[in-house]
Amino acid sequence: MSSEQPHQTPQQGRESSQPLRSPKTMTKAERRELQEKQRAAKASAKASGQANKPATKQPEGGGEKSSGKPSGKQGSGGGPSTQAQTLHQRRGSRVGGDIPRLGGGPGGNIVSDLSSRSINPRGVRIFSHFGLQQKSGAGKGLIHPAVVRLGLLFSNFQITGANARCLATLITFKHVIQDYTTPRNNTLTRHLMNHLSAQISHLVAARPMSVTMGNAIRQLKVEISGVDIDLPEQDAKESLCEKIDNYIQERITVAGQVIAQSAGFKIKNGDVLLTYARSSVVEQVLLQAHKEGKSFSVYVVDSRPMLEGKKLLAALTSAGIPCTYLLLSAIGSVIAEVSTVFIGAHSLHSNGAVHSRAGTALVSMMAKQHSIPVVVCCETYKISETVQLDSFTKNELGPMNGAFSIFPISIPRESLATENTANLEILNPLYDLTPPRNITAVVTEVGVIPPTSIGTIHMALGRMI
């Protein structure tokens, strides 16, 4: 704490009676009052459209907690000293354009939902480095209508799940390529790349790209750059579409079937399986095993707000698999009876960590504690080169209202906490990280491997991505 606490100052007089006392002689409460007043004055000055000033130094009343910055910078939790304040601010400004600023700074990326957060300058700091994505405009004219629609489906969470998003993206890009014509004086390879990049940024603006999408697009770009320059345009387009079809077929569809086979060997008659939320691959595994005639029962663990487990439950029960449905908080009571845990993944990282729906880490940790094998079912195209150690640096916040319409209409909306209020802020991280020590095996289409060997797969197969 940089400023001194004048403990020896007696509690004399209220601040209002002597407004000109130096801050050093005021009591803590008075300094806080003064600060609040100044902050309110600054906020109202800002509201009348003044230019965005850089964060000013707080008055020396640094002894208080949570002296937020009136420039609207997020996150003034904890009790920072003035040095910590400036340090934080500097770090904040380095992080870049997605820090929301009141009144719109040069970064320009005002996120509408976060603006309601920044009303409260003592907002929550956690996850403040990424906010909700803003819906981009209807397209600058170069965005193909199919991509516009896809962006809308993404941002409204109509298509969720790593596989589904990647499939939708590839199908849409196939369409874009088919509709594409090379302008004069341009080559297909170069111009198509630019064209697609514009579409990709539109999709990213709608919702941050998943690892699967990223890998697929990278592969597509490799293929585009490898197109023979002498090939006539129609042939080039057809070959690209064929390559996209092959990619979908090999690395998603057939991979899913192979995984269903391999994981099926892990399921024996009379097994009690547990799965969390809904993974398209795990669903395939279970349905395939059931079709082969094995008898087992499934615990479907689910959590808010997405409640994807309900849909999985519907799919499994309509196939005739006996299921039990429970919420994440109840997992302790059933975990002892489970024989195997199957989970899906959004992506796998080179250090063996599994990036998956928020709550998976808890499930796998519980299972590990009870010595239950945890099997991750995941195709190889979900493997990412990066190393991830925690779920805070890279995550995504879901929308807090509307998009997941999970509450029955009979419940009046006013009784639900779906909006930020003055003292309540709602955060909805969608993903979390399961460390490799909690995972027993990863089933991929190239075999069943331990989690720590994930980084070697591509190298072992001699391919790039």
Binding site: G137, P145, I159, A164, H175, P183, R278, S280, E308
Partner: protein, 496 residues
């Protein structure tokens, strides 16, 4: 340097069809001025022609192609307007003006118009009436986005926009100018935002107290809402295949009141769905995201609408979902309105004045030709080059361009179009004066509507009258309560 215009890489997604109707319900405002027609689309609201409002709403949504359809007699006036300064204010719109049939033929409904111009519409289209005034909080992009999303995810074919009627508190009592619009009842589902059934007031043998809801509809949508508080804005975003369906149904003249209720029935009647399935299929130019949707974690299993057969055909589980979606705009977010009859017209103008007076920060600028001693209240709007003489009192009114308001004239709550002359001492209250109307000195008009070019004699007193040129030429006795209601009340066609 490349002199050739490069072909656009991406073809635009929608074409807008703006229907400028004859404006029968706004007569006598839309009756001819001498020989020249006064098109409804050019009637000003807040001193800006109606059609400008529509085009201004259209522009930010990214639609570039506009097909503007108007009756043949109006062609010249509208072409002049569109070609002159309108195109300067809407640089990104390419407006194609087309005319249709004989204006006296009242059976030319909106449906027939679309059928006639179907060959010019080759993609998904948006139908807009020329008299829909949207509030600032409703963007056309919102409606378009909803259509895009729904047609991609479950094959909805049309998105309609309904708005809550403005509060009735300030409606003028009585039927001075013809009957009010009767409310239509609709059945809709809130969860999926679909329009399910529209009750059409059918004049033939109608049991007016019963509404029939079919069991197939109830089994698809168990939780319905029935309301008559919503009004149709006649803004439809349609899939191209809707046009094919429209072609088949030649008997349905009106889009909003005839075709749309029929279309809603397709979704839950299996026989109809089978019959029209082939019509709806071939125009799906957008890629089917069936495979992706199947894998989506939030997808409801069992309601997947498409299924890929082994030989690559796309068949369906329940048939293509031919849902009609709807967007409901609440009155609390801003008042939307349609200037479909005289009351609404007056109402909308009044609302514009309120908004304008709210937006105004300082006192109104000094306008030349307006005498200093004239009392013009803040919530009035005076057009350009209007001369207001001294001691005139203007309150809550919209006065058009090139008017002359004489001394001591008192104008309260009126809408005065361009080129009018109000002589000294005249008193106007709640009136709508057509263009070039001349009101004699010391005349008193209460809640009247005049045709363009009408001349009110000096000292005349009129109350609740529709003043038309034919009355003037007869030079007979002027009755009170003179109205041409028989013309208006029998009308079935919906006017745009």
């Amino acid at each position: 340097m490349d002199f050739e215009a490069s072909q656009p890489i991406v073809k635009s997604e929608f074409i807008a069809v703006v229907l400028a109707g004859f404006g029968r319900e706004l007569q006598p405002l839309t009756s001819n001025h001498g020989d020249e027609p006064c098109p409804k689309a050019l009637l000003p609201i807040g001193n800006k022609p109606m059609i400008d409002h529509v085009l201004a709403w259209l522009e930010p949504s990214g639609i570039t192609d506009v097909l503007l359809v108007c009756p043949t007699p109006h062609r010249r006036s509208i072409a002049d307007h569109v070609g002159s300064d309108a195109s300067a204010s809407f640089p990104s719109l390419r407006i194609d003006l087309q005319t249709y049939g004989d204006p006296q033929d009242s059976s030319f409904g909106t449906g027939s118009i679309l059928r006639t111009f179907a060959h010019r519409i080759d993609r998904d289209f948006v139908v807009l009436p020329c008299d829909f005034i949207p509030p600032p909080s409703l963007q056309l992009t919102t409606v378009l986005n909803k259509f895009r999303m729904e047609s991609a995810s479950d094959g909805s074919i049309l998105t309609s926009t309904w708005y809550e009627a403005p509060p009735q508190a300030d409606k003028p009592s009585g039927d001075e100018w013809g009957p009010h619009a009767s409310p239509t009842s609709i059945v809709w589902d809130e969860r999926s935002e679909s329009l399910l059934q529209i009750e059409v007031p059918d004049s033939i043998a109608r049991k007016t107290d019963d509404i029939e809801i079919e069991m197939s509809l109830l089994s698809m949508y168990p939780r319905l809402k029935l309301t008559n508080k919503l009004q149709d804005s006649n803004v439809f975003v349609c899939h191209r295949s809707v046009l094919e369906l429209l072609r088949k149904k030649r008997r349905l003249e009106s889009l909003g009141k005839g075709f749309l209720p029929w279309l809603c029935k397709i979704n839950h009647r299996r026989s109809k769905k089978q019959a029209y399935k082939t019509l709806l299929q071939p125009y799906r130019k957008m890629p089917t995201l069936a495979n992706a949707l199947k894998n989506s974690t939030l997808n409801e299993p069992g309601t997947v609408t498409y299924k890929e057969e082994d030989d690559g055909r796309i068949t369906t589980n329940h048939g293509p979902s031919t849902r009609v979606g709807l967007i409901v705009h609440k009155a609390g977010d801003g008042i939307a309105a349609r200037a479909s009859n005289l009351y609404n017209y007056l109402d909308i103008n009044r609302r514009f004045l309120e908004q304008a007076s709210q937006n105004q920060t300082g006192p109104p600028a000094k306008v030349p030709l307006v005498d200093a001693k004239a009392q013009i209240s803040v919530d009035s709007s005076i057009g350009q080059s209007t001369r207001v003489e001294e001691r005139a009192v203007i309150k809550k009114s919209v006065v058009g361009r090139h008017c002359v308001i004489g001394k001591m004239a008192k104008i309260v709550g009126c809408v005065i179009l361009d080129h009018c002359v109000v002589e000294d001492g005249a008193k106007l209250e709640g009136c709508i004066l057509g263009g070039s109307t001349k009101v004699g000195a010391k005349a008193e008009l209460l809640k009247c509507v005049t045709q363009a070019g009408f001349e009110v004699d000096a000292g005349g007193h009129y109350r609740n009258a529709k003043l038309e040129i034919s009355d003037w030429t007869t030079a007979g006795a002027y009755d009170d309560e003179e109205s041409d209601e028989d013309e208006e009340s029998g009308e079935e066609s919906d006017d745009v």
